[in-house]
């Protein structure tokens, strides 16, 4: 987790303090070398490596299911869902997000800090991105040393489900 940016909460990407109302908190995590952020309010749990039961015949982006304190949560293989090559790493961390009444577990390589960013600094998706990336990205934050892609998980889920059906 040390490789992740240590942005101080309440300070925007440019290092200027911003009023608290404009700030949105994001949990940062890494998938295949890229840095992603997801609204912290949607996070239910962050847990260490878990035993994940395979679901035969399920779409490839579904890694399986796991037992989260008595609830069965579907695990999403983020590498597959984001169209990245299979990761070497076997012990992945689990970020459990809530969408509606459902819980989904995102298998990620690394989890970083929760950082507060001003929504004013959110930049639109680059036009050069492939269609599939523009579908799930809600925009980009320019951090000091790298870019943070804001993940719209609902959009990712529906675009993946659609492409599986086709």
């Amino acid at each position: 987790m040390s490789s992740l940016p240590a942005t101080v909460s309440g300070v925007n990407a440019a290092g200027v303090p911003v009023p608290a109302e404009d700030l949105a908190k994001f949990l940062t995590f890494r998938v295949g070398g890229e840095l992603f952020g997801i609204p912290a309010l949607a996070i239910q749990d962050i847990i260490g490596p878990q035993r994940i039961a395979r679901i035969p015949l399920a779409p490839p982006f579904v890694a399986g299911a796991l037992n989260l304190r008595g609830r069965i949560v579907t695990a999403i293989d983020m590498h597959n869902a984001l169209g990245m090559p299979k990761s070497e790493k076997t012990r992945k961390l689990n970020v459990v997000v809530r969408t509606g009444a459902e819980l989904y577990d995102l298998l990620v390589d690394d989890v970083g800090d929760v950082i507060a960013l001003s929504m004013n600094d959110l930049e639109p998706n680059p036009v050069s991105w492939p269609e599939s990336w523009r579908a799930f990205s809600a925009g980009i934050f320019k951090l000091d040393d790298q870019l943070l892609v804001v993940l719209n998980f609902d959009a990712l889920l529906s675009s993946q489900t659609k492409s599986t059906l086709q």
């Binding site: 035993r51 039961a53 395979r54 679901i55 035969p56 015949l57 399920a58 779409p59 579904v62 399986g64 299911a65 796991l66 037992n67 304190r69 008595g70 609830r71 069965i72 949560v73 579907t74 459902e102 989904y104 889920l157 993946q160 489900t161 059906l165």
Partner: protein
Amino acid sequence: MLDSELVKFERDPTSGETLKVIFRVMHTIKGTCGFLGLPRLEKVAHAGEDVLVKYRDGELSATPQSVTVILKCIDRIRSIITELAEKGSEPAGDDSELIAQLKAAAAGKLEIAPAASEPTKAKSKKKDQAEAKEPPANEPPKSDDGFPVAAELMAEIEAAMAKEKAAKEQASEPATPLPVPVSSTPPPAKIEPATTKLEPKAAEAAKAGDAKAATQSIRVNVEVLEHMMNLVSEMVLTRNQLLQMVRGRDDSEFKEPLQRLSRVTTDLQEGVMKTRMQPIGNAWQKLPRIVRDLSTASGKKIDLQMVGAETELDRQVLEMIGDPLLHMVRNSADHGLEGPEERLAAGKGEVGTVRLMAYHQGGHIIMEITDDGRGLNTGRIRQKIVEKGLATQAEWDNLSDHEVHQYIMRAGFSTAEKITNVSGRGVGMDVVRANIEKIGGTVDFRSVQGRGTSFTIKIPLTLAIVAALIVEAGDERFAIPQIAVNELVSASAGAQHKIETVKGAQVLRLRGRLLPLVNLRKLLKLDTPSDTEVDRDGFVIVAQAGNKVFGIVVDGIYDSEEIVVKPVAPIIKGITHYSGNTILGDGSVIMILDPNGVSEAVSEAAANVVATDATKAALEAEKTSLLLFSTGAGAIKAVPLGLVSRLENFPLTDLQLNDGAALAQYRGKLIPIASVSPDFVWKTEGGQPALVFTDQ
């Protein structure tokens, strides 16, 4: 409640207890409406009450006509209440005709002066028919749901009444003299006893209200219960883990508290389960009224018997069987039972019986719906099958009666000669079966022409917990609902049952029948060592889905476990092979197989195999296993393995040589021994190896 009580009352007009209940409810409605300022509701309830007063005082006796009018009055009250609940105000409408009818009934005109009542009767009958044909016109679309609303309202009203007993008595005081101006026919002298009689009745009503309040109950949101259920299952799992940890150590100080915890957890689980249970009678409540309406509309005489209404089952199951049940009872009453003349002609009693029975049996609820009507007309069904081209002549010639009957479960299949407003459109039994199978139940039925039909529905007690068989395929574990499992067969090349391949599809010979097989590992596309290799070893689960029996080949079978069924995530809902998933005692997540989904896959797989692998399959079918052996000089020899029953090594003492022919003692019998070639040399010491053949 009022509906079933009234129907009960009609059948037994002397039952004072039933009448009391009806009267009390009607009176409560009226009294409360007076309070709340709902004039329309009050007027209708009041007119209805007038008629009931006459019954109670013995001035009139109940007749089907007058009960119909009262039922109509209750319908009207119900529809007003439904709208009231929706809009918060009394809907506008004209009840004068209904009130006039009620008044006529109260005056006894419906019976006393048949000539004068003729128009009323005709009118009521006409209205009855109109009502039957287009119920939505008279009632708002939510009429079915209207009942619970009314019942709850009634409960609330009663509770409120109990609190304000004094106020209620006051309210009933002015209410009682009211019959005087309305029904002017009875002499005033008769009102005196009526009023005095009512006093203790009102007190009794209040007492009943008290009793209801005393049986303390609260309403709990179902979601809260579901959540509790989840937590309790989780607690049971944790308890199991703890027990396992302590089991190895005798001296553990945790042992005793853990045992206590264990017991409490078990009790808690049972307690929470119980909160979800409801008597099946709740699903039956609507039936008496429906059967009554049907009998008036069709002119049949029907006796609806209900046995075992107190049998409890899960709320969720109860909700899901309501509609199928309704349909089946209607079917029995409308199609099954004959009219009175036909029954008499057939030498049966005039009154037909529809009997509902519910009881527990081995973790399931069995419900039987039996009628003593005409039974299924096998000839007509056969005729229909051919008409619709569902089977070829050759096929249906071979069908047994029972198999022919199964066709009524198909979509669009109706043998009713005419479509009535009740049933006969051919959308029916297939939907019933689909609904019942959805909750893991089965439907079966027997019918004897001329004697009646009996449907048997088998449903699980609860949807939340089912017994399931845990099996293994390709290193993954799966659960198969026990209700779908008929038997388990161990299959291997040497065993009694072996898996064979016919045209590329695997089959198992089981008691003279060929059972289609599906290999779970292949079905779920789990890693297979090699696709061409035909598995000859494994366990076969003989499963049933609907009428289809098939075998599922698995690598291993663990044991039977009670599992808590949880729905699958929306993104994998599309996979029909699963009906849910669950967490096992050790905390691992496994998928629950849906026998119906798997059975569909079986037929598809079989079709695919035949289509794509036809040539390969043909080659494979020609292959025969051979047993190789050597004897004397010369080349190795072979015999078809299928002919060999055993390999034996006979001690020389068991062999007898007679005139060059050899005999051997074998399992208490003498069997002839043939030598392979003329230059064969018998062994002189040790044993003589031999192949034992069976000639069949």
